[in-house]
């Protein structure tokens, strides 16, 4: 089931009324590519969300009805088979993480809550291969899922005013790394020294929607060598 509707005066939004899953994300990414070539002259921007593809056009320079019909037609032609074989051949991105209470204010609390040792929490968090479902919140921020049910944890009732850059965080069944200092309500269980977003002359994000991601525990010394600050 899907719907196509407006996204403002010069946009279209395709939403699939189902739970997020990698298969859907891969289809939306393939559709985003197709839209870029189909509407190269009038498409200003496009974004894949969890279950959505939003196409934003240059106002007055596109044909709304034709674009809407094209989008619905593509959605209709969604293949039953996963595009995994074709698109997910890329290797897994590995992010180094220091899991230590000195950089992770909620790590001991989480272990207590779950009746586990810190090592068990770390083992669970770093044993899973996550899927990047969506970008958002800030440049370089990627929503990664799914966190093992044993680690699922609610957000803080009131967000912290300043979460440090590189903080590895948990909320519900999701995990993420905060690319820069920002307010945040997720639980902090580690710190990743890899910069996830570069501004400057060549802005670039380290992770993209559709990536597979693993976390690799590192020692304090390795953390320092990779540029981490304690």
């Amino acid at each position: 089931m899907y719907e196509v509707g407006p996204a403002g005066e010069a946009g279209l939004r395709l939403v699939f009324l189902e739970a997020p899953q990698p298969t859907l994300t891969r289809f939306l990414l393939s559709l985003q590519q197709a839209a870029r070539s189909q509407f190269s002259d009038c498409l200003a921007d496009s974004v894949v969300g969890y279950t959505t593809l939003t196409l934003l056009f240059h106002p007055l320079q596109w044909e709304r009805d034709r674009a809407g019909a094209w989008l619905a037609e593509q959605a209709e032609k969604r293949p039953q088979a996963d595009l995994e074989e074709a698109l997910a051949a890329e290797s897994v991105v590995t992010l180094p993480v220091l899991y230590h209470p000195s950089v992770a204010p909620d790590l001991e609390w989480l272990a207590d809550q779950k009746g586990m040792s810190i090592d068990q929490v770390v083992a669970l968090h770093s044993a899973t291969t996550y899927f990047a479902y969506a970008t958002g919140f800030a440049p370089g921020f990627c929503y990664l899922g799914e966190v093992p049910a044993e680690l699922a944890v609610p957000r803080l009732a009131s967000p912290r005013a300043a979460v440090p850059a590189g903080a590895v965080a948990l909320a519900d069944r999701q995990t993420a790394v905060y690319p820069g200092i920002s307010p945040g309500g997720w639980r902090l269980i580690g710190s990743c020294p890899t910069p996830l977003f570069h501004g400057g002359d060549q802005p670039a994000a380290f992770l993209a929607v559709g990536d597979s991601v693993r976390f690799e525990p590192i020692t304090t010394q390795e953390y320092r060598e990779l540029g981490g600050v304690l």
Binding site: E9, S46, V47, G199
Partner: protein
């Protein structure tokens, strides 16, 4: 090298052009001038490309000098302009000699004004645009608001002979301002009460208004939507967070968000809202995409006939 020396930068002055295209998936907002008409007017006055960058000021307040003689124009929200202490006209081309002081003080209405210089601001284009996205530290001068003592490079300028006047801006008074929006996103899944309040109530512009968006105040709206999967926002998107107080997202908005949105305000009214000061009353009115196009065509026609 031709430069503009900033003696006093004011609270929120930044380099802006018509904005960045195609960077939302990267998490970068479009940014660009909050009053596109005012930017356009200034480039018309100086006979330069519509995409040349200018200095955008929120609530005026700029003192600057060119290092070499330079044609300038000030557009957007009304300001008091003086050159070396002598009062001068806005919305027209002025010749400023090297070292003369351009002083811009905010007027009584509007928010965003623009200082345009012949040759444009020649900071590097990042991903196709010179616009500053301050939160992400991208574009403009070192990705930030201007500071006292900054020196901005200026592009090569041709000599101008014209008596053009142009004063397109979006500060025309209205009370309340009607914000026309194209329904979409979660419009159909919100409680009927929520939509009735959005359409029926008046809201006030608060002081939480900046390049990212404008926070409104009024009766709290309960959308009835508990959780939402993150998805793209759009220019003018009306976002209703758990507080129930709508925020209209503007040029420096987050590219992706997880709060329910009943629709997005059309460009024309986004500019009016951006130029509105705290305390301004606004109302929302739904508008079909076709009606939004008609407004767009009409405004384009108006620009083309006024500036030609």
């Amino acid at each position: 090298m031709r430069q503009l020396v900033i003696h006093q930068a004011g609270p929120a002055a930044s380099v802006q052009d018509s904005g960045r295209i195609g960077t939302l998936q990267l998490g970068l907002p479009p940014s660009g001038a909050m009053d596109a008409d005012a930017l356009f007017s200034g480039q018309y006055l100086l006979e330069q490309h519509a995409d040349e960058a200018a200095i955008e000021m929120a609530y005026g307040g700029l003192l600057a000098s060119p290092s070499e003689p330079c044609d300038i124009a000030v557009t957007g929200a009304p300001t008091h302009l003086s050159i070396d202490g002598i009062s001068a006209s806005t919305h027209t081309v002025l010749r400023v000699e090297a070292g003369q002081h351009i002083h811009i003080i905010p007027g009584a209405t509007g928010v965003y004004s623009y200082l345009h210089l012949a040759g444009g601001i020649d900071t590097p284009r990042i991903l196709g645009s010179r616009s500053t996205s301050v939160r992400e530290g991208v574009g403009g001068l070192e990705g930030r608001y201007l500071r006292d003592g900054d020196r901005l490079p200026l592009g090569a300028a041709k000599s101008l002979v014209n008596d053009r006047m142009a004063s397109l801006t979006s500060t025309a008074p209205a009370d309340p301002i009607t914000l026309r929006f194209v329904p979409g996103f979660q419009y159909a899944s919100m409680k009927p009460d929520a939509i009735a309040m959005l359409l029926g109530e008046e809201f006030l512009v608060t002081s939480k208004a900046n390049r990212m968006g404008v926070q409104l105040e009024g009766k709290a709206i309960d959308t009835g939507i508990e959780t939402l999967l993150s998805e793209a926002t759009a220019d003018g998107a009306i976002q209703i967070p758990p507080s129930g107080r709508p925020v209209v997202l503007l040029n420096d908005r987050q590219a992706v968000g997880g709060y329910p949105k009943p629709g997005a305000v059309i460009r024309s009214d986004c500019r009016r809202l951006a130029q509105a000061r705290p305390g301004q009353k606004v109302r929302f009115a739904p508008c079909s995409p076709q009606e939004a196009d008609r407004v767009g065509w009409l405004e384009q026609h108006y620009r083309d006939t006024r500036l030609s």
